[in-house]
């Protein structure tokens, strides 16, 4: 087995969390084309402002550049990737072989998800896979890492893929009482970190975390709370009403509406292009302000080890968020290879 100094993978994200720093990850959406420049540009927006960037895997079942392909570009750019992998598109053979390849390409963090159903995406007539589920994927990849066995139980020789393995949980999806337990199951399966669905309702989230802590789960896993800036009151209401597991308190929606008030009296046709631009900017400023407050509150919640910023198609927002929350510059924790080996 390779020398890992007691780390699972020794990735930057793992080192930051292990050192007790409040971690920041950010989402980077790969493009719906083969242009690597898109990834490079987005990487430049995030570099230095997060400890690792998540690359989504055909998010909402829409074909995009693969997370492994995009992740490899991030490695070249010096921004650490967390590749996401969903159960919808690959069976256990494809998952394992792609992960062997991903490790060989220098990828060290993996997030295991179920994946949105394909009816949401641009290929609703596709056949789905769902050979194994996200919990079983976590078991499979930690088995490959820790026992050097494939899912079938067969041992293999040579380099094992050593990923820092994460999973997700949606604290407010139903049945709500089961969610902390399901998180516990993912930890039992071997997940080292958890990234949550977007959280806006801090009070509800605190209750969830109380339960997580009372079960002792927070001592076995690093939990990164999902946060993201609202772009407009319409977007906020859309998410509240249409995305399962997203709760947005009314006051927050009112704050967004208030930000757009100077333009509220005008009808659609009366608004000039300038007006619209100014209104968008006012909404975005308020969205970022709210989000910074959320991060600050998250830092005080027991069991929360960091935040995962999902600024969907708005990667530019990450810099002001991280700076505004006092999380810049990001800490540097020396590479595992430069730390003296700990006794086994």
């Amino acid at each position: 087995m390779s020398d890992t100094n007691g780390y699972h993978s020794g990735s930057n994200l793992e080192r930051i969390l292990r050192a007790g720093h409040f971690a920041v990850t950010a989402e980077l959406g790969p493009p719906q084309n083969a242009d690597g420049e898109v990834i490079r540009k987005k990487a430049q927006l995030l570099k230095g402002y997060c400890d690792a960037a998540n690359l989504t895997d055909n998010q909402t079942a829409i074909v995009r550049m693969s997370s492994i392909g995009a992740g490899t570009i991030l490695v070249q750019e010096g921004l650490e990737p967390v590749i996401q992998m969903v159960c919808r598109d690959r069976n256990r053979l494809a998952m394992q072989s792609d992960l062997l390849g991903a490790y060989a390409l220098g990828i060290r963090n993996l997030l295991c998800l179920t994946g949105d159903h394909q009816t949401f995406g641009n290929h609703p007539t596709a056949k789905n896979v769902f050979d194994i589920d996200s919990m079983q994927m976590v078991q499979m990849v930690t088995g490959m890492r820790d026992k050097r066995v494939f899912q079938c139980g067969e041992e293999f020789k040579g380099q094992e893929p050593r990923f820092f393995v994460g999973a997700v949980e949606s604290p407010f999806a139903h049945p709500i009482d089961f969610r902390p337990h399901r998180l516990g199951k993912k930890v039992k399966a071997g997940a080292s970190f958890i990234q949550t669905q977007l959280v806006f309702d801090i009070e509800a989230f605190k209750k969830f975390m109380d339960k997580v802590c009372s079960l002792g789960i927070h001592e076995q896993v690093y939990l990164l709370a999902g946060i993201g800036p609202l772009k407009s009151p319409t977007m906020a209401k859309y998410m509240r009403d249409n995305v399962p597991g997203i709760l947005i308190p009314n006051e927050m929606i009112k704050r967004m509406e208030k930000a757009g008030e100077p333009w509220a009296g005008k009808s659609k046709d009366e608004l000039t292009a300038e007006d619209k631009k100014a209104r968008t900017a006012a909404w975005q400023d308020e969205g970022i302000k709210i989000c910074i407050e959320l991060i600050q509150q998250m830092r005080k919640i027991k069991g929360v080890s960091g935040v995962h910023i999902m600024a969907i198609e708005w990667e530019k927002a990450v810099k002001p968020l991280v700076e505004g929350a006092g999380l810049y510059p990001r800490p540097v924790v020396p590479d595992a290879s430069t730390v003296s080996a700990q006794p086994a």
């Binding site: 159960c87 919808r88 256990r92 179920t114 994946g115 949105d116 159903h117 009816t119 949401f120 789905n128 769902f130 050979d131 194994i132 589920d133 996200s134 919990m135 079983q136 078991q139 499979m140 899912q151 997700v168 949980e169 949606s170 999806a173 139903h174 049945p175 089961f178 337990h181 399901r182 516990g184 199951k185 039992k188 399966a189 669905q197 399962p244 597991g245």
Partner: protein
Amino acid sequence: MIVAEQKSLDEIKKLVGSAQKVLVVGCGTCVTVCFAGGAREAAIVAAELRMSTKLDGSPKEVTDVTVQRQCEWEYLDEIAPKLGQVDIILSLGCGVGVQAIAEHFPGTWVVPGLNTKFMGLPTEQGVWAERCAACGDCILGLTGGICPIARCSKSLLNGPCGGSLDGHCEINADISCAWQLIYDRLNSMGKLEVLMDIQPPKNWQTSRDGGPRKIVREDLRLDKKEE
């Protein structure tokens, strides 16, 4: 039961094509109960086909007959005498029935009049819902008698996913979330601890993924060698 739905008359006409003499064969079992291909439906489809081809100016000779069970060869023998007088059979049986006819009468062209949908049950008058996907290794004992293979849109064994909301599945507000149902049932029976175990990956070999399936019961075979 096997639940099926009739194809449109347009599609049926395309399938029948230029054949002149058509025998519509209904089935007296599952598809009768789900009002898709019983004696009544066979008579209606035959009449529609007669009328419609007459209006098109090329009337076809269409007759109908309904057997008790299309999916067993012995019940098909009663239509054998009619085969000399027809060019094509339009089967209103499920996919098994259509194939039973094709296998039993190698010289007769048969086309399907139904789309076979699923194994399920009527939940109310006029509504049928899927219940079993014939995975070949039943796990209902772990899930309070509610099947996650057939009824969870992602066939999760460690559900529910993050898309479960207000009792319905993320794909459609008309579809119940199987895992919410499982959770509620285990909860009401005081058996939630069952859900705390991680279910291992399923062996899909017993399912269609293992190739076409077959059961051989030596104890029941007639051509068994006598001692």
